[in-house]
């Protein structure tokens, strides 16, 4: 089950040959610089403004280029690559429509702090600003959704700009950086000398925290009777999962992990309370509301987590640890702010942290609550239940897969019923909630992890937003297992219309969806379908045994809802629990 790679030269050979100064074109400078940044795989789509770059890529094999079928597929794939590997994801698109097709993906990465370097072509510098053919002001369009951007004026600037872009994307609070290269710049000759240092005045993320602030937190821990840790994506991004584990073990503080923090702490552990927020566990939500100390580690107090802000964690002293000072105090007033990289903060804290002794009763209370109120659903023998499907996938894969999801009910069920024990095994669009993300991001995740099983869980709606990328799975034998939870509707919208809009179902019917099995086969990918438990398991096993990519459609009950649910405007302990009680 290994995806095919072009035969690559040995790394030393490549680096050796690339480092020597030489007069070459902007395009060649770009390719060499990417290799020197340790790029192995880029996703892209050619067009007029990047023809020089693609010409330079002809026969080039020092990294792999995957031709997606839509620029949106390329950028979500680069995003999945980055999330699953911790490296910078790279994609290339042409000017104008190619570039604007990236916008959704750039915003997705920006909201979830994913490091990307996005390369777009632009019309020649002489034509910029003239409404030339296929011209779009992509740096202007993307200014609010990039960490930084460059419009390159001279080929000679490229080595520095590319090196800076990778540095900016993957340090501090991570994020997408855009490099817009006009066509004449990609053709221009310049002396290439590799750049290995960066000095960007005004960009110095604070990594090491202030010891006094950390001490304040440690003191608060010894005083707390009802402490809780709220851990988010920042733990995963800073590679701090081991430090977090040590911190929780030493302090004995119960922990809840946000949607993007799933996998930052092993879900099998006793102190783990599940996910908080709109579709969080009963225990996670009520514990936040009862806590007298809440330690936020690398989460941004998103409104899907906090519910009604004014009633959030009303009794708690708040500690907020974040690499981005602007997050601290943005939504929730903070008592002990700690600016720094989560890993450094936890390393410092772990040296002295003491067991929260006063919290024994609290720990016992929460452990009992977890037992008493786990996620629940009414199973059925007649209809396939989506929750059951996810549980089955979890069992059949021993929880070892990398799971990517699209957006909707299936995403929440995957978060609830597939348990994650390792970081970077869970890839989902949290902040922007981008439909169409699930499947292409799995392609990227698989490219970054050739030897792991990658499952992409999608709704029947979202699957139709980027299904065309089945082609690149087939052609490159990328063995992603694509799951479609087919409820024949835009399920999450249906749920809201049922619960909040009084059963007024408006435009959610997905009649006219393709036969997904035939669709897969049309692209040369194996397709499977099941609508009862027995078939579901058998079909899944068959798909797993198939060495290449596969699409597995599970036809599930239409009217199933995600519970618990906190409706907007409620505090998070005001949960609808559904009919399981």
């Amino acid at each position: 089950m290994v995806a095919q790679h072009a035969t690559l030269r040995s790394k030393e050979e490549i680096m050796e040959s690339l480092r020597k100064p030489e007069v070459i074109t902007g395009s060649e400078i770009l390719l060499r610089s990417l290799v020197l940044e340790d790029v192995e795989c880029v996703f892209g789509y050619p067009g007029g403004a990047v023809l020089y770059i693609y010409d330079a890529m002809h026969g080039f094999s020092d990294f792999q280029h995957l031709l997606t079928r839509h620029e949106q597929g390329a950028i979500h794939a680069a995003d999945g690559y980055a999330r699953a590997s911790g490296k910078v994801g790279v994609c290339i698109a042409t000017s104008g429509p190619g570039a604007t097709n990236l916008v959704t993906g750039i915003a997705t990465a920006y909201m979830d702090s994913v490091p990307l370097v996005v390369i777009t072509g632009n019309v020649a510098t002489t034509l910029i600003g003239t409404d030339a053919f296929q011209e779009a002001d992509i740096t202007g369009i993307t200014m609010p959704i990039t960490k930084h951007s460059y419009l390159v004026r001279k080929a000679a600037d490229l080595p520095r700009i590319i090196h800076e872009a990778f540095h900016i994307a993957n340090t501090g609070r991570k994020g997408p950086v855009l490099i817009d290269i006009p066509k004449d710049v990609s053709a221009e000759l310049a002396l290439f000398e590799p750049v290995t240092e960066v000095s960007i005045r005004g960009y110095n993320p604070t990594v090491t925290p202030n010891k006094l602030q950390v001490d304040k937190m440690l003191k608060a821990i010894t005083e707390a009777e009802r402490p809780i840790v709220l851990a988010g994506g920042g733990v995963v991004y800073s590679g701090a999962h081991e430090e977090l584990f040590e911190f929780i073990k030493k302090s004995g503080i119960p922990i809840t992990t946000t949607l993007l923090g799933l996998g930052a702490f092993p879900s099998g552990e006793e102190l783990w309370l599940g996910m908080p927020g709109m579709h969080g566990t009963y225990t996670a939500n009520t514990s936040i509301q009862e806590a007298d100390l809440l330690i936020n580690i690398g989460a941004r107090f998103d409104d899907r987590v906090t519910g009604k802000l004014s009633g959030f964690a009303p009794k708690a002293k708040i500690v907020h640890i974040d690499i981005d000072p602007a997050e601290i105090g943005k939504n929730v007033p903070t008592d002990i702010p700690i600016v720094g990289d989560v890993k450094s903060v936890l390393q410092m804290a772990n040296k002295e942290v003491k067991y929260a002794e006063k919290a024994d009763a609290w720990r016992a209370q929460l452990a009992a609550s977890c037992k008493e109120k786990p996620y629940k659903y009414n199973d059925s023998e007649d209809e396939l239940k989506p929750q059951w499907v996810i549980e089955m996938l979890y069992e059949e894969t021993n929880g070892e897969a990398i799971v990517t999801t699209d957006v909707g009910q299936h995403q929440m069920w995957a978060a609830q019923y597939y348990k994650f024990n390792k970081p970077r095994s869970w890839v989902t669009s949290g902040g922007l909630g981008t439909m169409g993300f699930g499947f292409p991001s799995a392609i990227g995740a698989q490219m970054a992890n050739q030897d792991r099983l990658v499952i992409s869980i999608n709704g029947d709606g979202g699957m139709q937003m980027c299904a065309q990328e089945l082609a690149i799975c087939a052609i490159n034998n990328i063995p992603v297992k694509v799951v479609i939870i087919n409820n024949q509707v835009l399920g999450m919208v249906r749920q809201w219309q049922e619960l909040i809009y009084d059963n007024r179902y408006s435009h959610i019917d997905l009649s006219g969806s393709p036969d997904f099995v035939k669709l897969a086969e049309a692209y040369g990918v194996r397709g499977f379908r099941a609508s009862n438990k027995e078939d579901a398991r058998a079909v899944w096993q068959e798909a797993m045994n198939h060495p290449g990519p596969a699409v597995v459609e599970f036809v599930v009950r239409k009217h199933e809802n995600v519970y618990p649910m906190v409706t907007q405007g409620s505090t998070i302990d005001q949960m609808l629990m559904g009919d399981t009680e």
């Binding site: 200014m143 960490k147 900016i168 005045r201 005004g202 960009y203 981005d324 602007a326 105090g329």
Partner: protein
């Protein structure tokens, strides 16, 4: 408490940097009362002076968000210290020969200057803090203001502080 804040932002003199800064204000719902940009004491760096209103929490967020922009090097809340804030306005006002002496009287009192004379108009230049300019404009209104152009505030902290 809502207050007027004058913030100086030292930025890399890059194309698009004004758009980045002003865009950030608009997008995050911060108000800009005035914004001025010009070169600074160091080549390659520009200084923007932005006047905004809001409470202290808003100012803190503005500052933190500005620091997130890679091209922003330093943000200083000038209004936290004794500060000199100056604005320039040009006011073209109706001025029939009969009304001129009166207008010239006002101009003199405000230490403003007449910088152009037309057959039926005068152009007045006034420099000062925002209140002074506002007052001058009020006094010119009865004569009929034909055209008005203000530069927005530029400012510095007093004394040896940098």
């Amino acid at each position: 408490m809502m207050k007027r804040h004058t913030v100086a932002v030292l930025v890399n003199d890059q194309p698009g940097v004004l758009q980045r800064v002003s865009g950030l204000f608009g997008r995050r719902g911060f108000n800009i009362e005035s914004i001025t940009v010009g070169t600074s004491e160091e080549t390659g760096l520009s200084r923007m002076v932005i006047v905004t209103t809001g409470d202290d929490k808003m100012l803190e967020q503005v500052t933190k968000q500005l620091y997130k922009l890679i091209d922003v090097i330093k943000v200083v809340d000038l209004s936290a210290n004794p500060m000199v804030g100056r604005e320039l306005a040009l006011i073209k006002v109706n001025a029939d020969p009969g009304a001129r002496p009166e207008i010239l009287g006002v101009v003199e009192t405000f230490r403003a200057a007449v910088v152009d004379i037309g057959t039926t108009s005068l152009m007045v230049q006034v420099v000062g803090d925002t209140d002074k300019i506002d007052a001058m404009i009020e006094l010119m209104k009865p004569y009929g203001i034909r055209e008005l152009s203000r530069t927005g505030v530029t400012a510095m902290v007093r004394g040896n502080a940098r």
